[in-house]
């Protein structure tokens, strides 16, 4: 379990060897990258579940994709522009409404915890 911000920045090591050896620490490494804490029990559970899924997906290696271009989207649209004009007549009122969902606000701005430490 990650207790401090400093330990969250430990080097991530997840080789295929560690993934396949039954060692579940690779999941802990991924979870750290993804900013999720796992209990020991969750680590084992997710390692089993995700390991099974990823192993199944190795099926894709059978497909020869030499010379095939990747598809990221199917619309065929490129560079969709619109005029950058203000369409919201409510202005501040609307801003205040959006800010209502923030846990801490100060003078019309959202308050954020310190990036390094809160003193």
């Amino acid at each position: 379990m990650i207790k401090s911000a400093a330990s969250a920045r430990i080097r991530v090591n997840m080789t295929d060897e560690t993934k396949k050896s039954g060692d579940s620490s690779w999941v802990l490494n991924v979870a750290q990258l993804a900013r999720i804490e796992l209990s020991k029990q969750e680590e084992t559970k997710f390692a089993g579940q995700l390991g099974a899924v990823l192993e199944n997906f190795e099926l894709l290696n059978k497909v020869d994709t030499t010379g095939v271009e990747a598809t990221a989207q199917v619309t065929g649209l490129t560079n969709v522009f619109r005029i950058d004009e203000i369409k919201n007549p409510l202005g501040k009122e609307s801003r205040d409404e959006l800010l209502k969902n923030a846990p801490e606000i100060q003078e019309g701005s959202i308050k954020v915890p310190g990036v390094f430490h809160n003193d």
């Binding site: 990650i2 401090s4 911000a5 969250a8 991530v12 997840m14 999941v27 991924v30 979870a31 990258l33 993804a34 900013r35 999720i36 804490e37 997710f46 579940q49 995700l50 099974a52 899924v53 990823l54 199944n56 997906f57 099926l59 894709l60 290696n61 059978k62 497909v63 994709t65 095939v68 271009e69 990747a70 598809t71 990221a72 989207q73 199917v74 619309t75 649209l77 969709v80 619109r82 609307s94 409404e97 959006l98 209502k100 969902n101 923030a102 846990p103 801490e104 959202i110 954020v112 915890p113 310190g114 990036v115 390094f116 430490h117 809160n118």
Partner: protein, 491 residues
């Protein structure tokens, strides 16, 4: 007339226009129905009956003045809880959004309001639409109206169950890999996954942005056509929406389908397909033949790779989309009850750990893994290349066929709890629906029959890019010739 809640949009609209009934009468009948069956079905997360009653009164006035806004004026609708609704809680069935109140309406919600539709409330889904059963909802599962020990499917399970149990006249859902079609199939509703970009996603909670679509779940193909006329079209707020001029989808109703060419992709009828489902599909195909359609077996060879391709891309996009839930601007925030946070990263860890459910966590971790340096080429890039192969196979197929017909799911609704702790088998259950989203084409789930245990089975009709009309034409002809879609669960 009693039992107004059972009406289709088409029939309700006729009665409203002829002043046989009023929108308020229709609404009260539906509300009464919801109150009666909801303890068993649990479709709704949030009910907005006060708003609905006020809207219905306005609609009453429009009808008495002879000036309804549209064919959806006065028609009660349930919205999957992923559509932003101004001043009404929008949760995506996640603890991380349990108190989120949007400041604006999604474009489709505005369109429905402007059309005069009556908002009944927000219905259940798997958390962030990730799942095939609604069991991943932070608020508990919905139940299948045909057998309440079974799942309604997912992720739009609340929408499909609500339509099937007559708790609304229609619902909106979203479909990223089958989330409209599979629950529609499990609950015996008619659900359309539209062409990617046909309906605006502005104000809709994202799962996998290159696959996500918005579409209707209704009681008939004719009703789907009426809804599509209102919700389809370009939106400057969603730059992926199509620019093409769209047809009036109701003009595809009541057609003769003689000579229509229907392809039967053999990969969808292989191993894993339950014999009963196979038999129901064969009968449905015989019906289409008897209506004059020309049916032919064909092949989409890359189908076997669709699940792996789909889930790699979907979870990669999901891990990126879910990064926005930082507990700073909106949503669950550890800041609200913890004044001892060390720093920003501490907040990220606490929020995500405390407020995401298991499938959301699995998605984030899997996506983080497949997008990480050293694994990107083997997973994400490879999957994106295979996506190209699959998309091309569909393009080729539609040079020859008007539509393709397959089962929606290899089996009918499964038991609640059966697959929950086995994500791989849950993913594999989506085998027939996931190939469609990467290709970007439309597909509809149409009730095709029932198993011996009286569980619904759906037929998937797949059409070409922007070929919603071709699908509606075949589905409507099928529904004119059959009565599966008219059967109701005993509740």
């Amino acid at each position: 007339m009693t039992d107004l809640y059972k009406l289709t949009i088409q029939d309700a609209s006729k009665k409203l226009k002829s002043a046989e009934i009023t929108p308020s009468e229709l609404l009260e009948s539906v509300i009464e129905r919801v109150e009666k069956v909801e303890p068993e079905i649990k479709s709704y997360i949030t009910k907005t009956f006060d708003i609905a009653r006020a809207q219905a009164k306005e609609s009453d006035k429009r009808y008495s003045a002879g000036k309804p806004f549209s064919d959806l004026d006065g028609i009660p609708v349930a919205l999957k809880d992923v559509f932003c609704t101004k001043d009404i809680k929008t949760t995506a069935a996640s603890k991380i959004l349990e108190d989120f109140i949007p400041a604006y309406d999604a474009t489709v919600v505005s369109k429905l309001r402007d059309a005069g539709a009556i908002m009944l409330g927000k219905v259940n889904t798997d958390e962030f639409t990730m799942g095939s059963s609604t069991e991943n909802s932070a608020f508990g599962p919905s139940h299948n109206p045909w057998d309440t020990t079974r799942v309604p499917g997912g992720s739009s399970g609340g929408s499909a169950a609500a339509v099937s149990a007559d708790e609304c006249l229609f619902a909106l859902g979203t479909d990223t890999g089958g989330s409209i079609r599979q629950p529609a199939s499990f609950c015996s509703a008619t659900g359309l996954k539209v062409t990617y970009g046909l309906v605006s996603r502005n104000g809709v909670v994202s799962y996998a942005s290159s696959f996500d679509t918005v579409g209707p779940i209704a009681k008939s193909a004719a009703d789907v056509a009426i809804i599509l006329n209102i919700i389809a079209g370009n939106d400057p707020m969603d730059s992926t929406t199509v620019n093409e001029k769209l047809p009036d989808y109701t003009t595809f109703l009541g057609h003769d389908i003689k000579g229509k060419k229907i392809g039967i992709p053999k990969e969808f009828y292989g191993e894993g397909l339950q014999p009963e489902v196979d038999e129901i599909l064969k009968n449905a195909i015989e019906t289409l033949k008897s209506l004059g359609a020309e049916v032919e077996e064909m092949s989409l060879p890359s189908t076997d790779y669709a699940i792996a391709m789909y889930y790699i891309i979907a979870k990669s996009e999901a891990s990126s989309n879910l990064a926005r839930y930082d507990g700073i601007r909106y949503g669950y925030s550890n800041l609200k009850h913890n004044k001892n946070l060390q720093d920003l990263i501490d907040l990220y860890f606490k929020n995500r750990t405390e407020a995401f459910g298991n499938e959301a966590k699995r998605s984030i971790m899997m996506g983080t893994y497949t997008l990480s340096s050293g694994y990107f080429d083997a997973y994400y890039k490879k999957a994106s290349e295979i996506r190209t192969l699959i998309k091309k196979e569909y393009e080729e197929a539609f040079k020859k066929y008007d539509v393709l017909v397959t089962p929606v799911s290899p089996f009918p609704a499964f038991k609640i709890g059966e697959k929950l702790e086995d994500p791989l088998s849950m993913y594999l259950a989506d085998v027939n629906t996931v190939p469609i989203n990467p290709a970007g084409v439309p597909a509809m789930s149409v009730p095709a029959g029932f198993t011996k245990d009286n569980l619904p089975v759906g037929m998937q009709i797949i059409g070409p890019y922007l070929g919603e009309g071709a699908i509606i034409e075949i589905a409507d002809a099928f529904q004119q010739a059959t009565d599966h879609h008219l059967k109701k669960p005993e509740l």
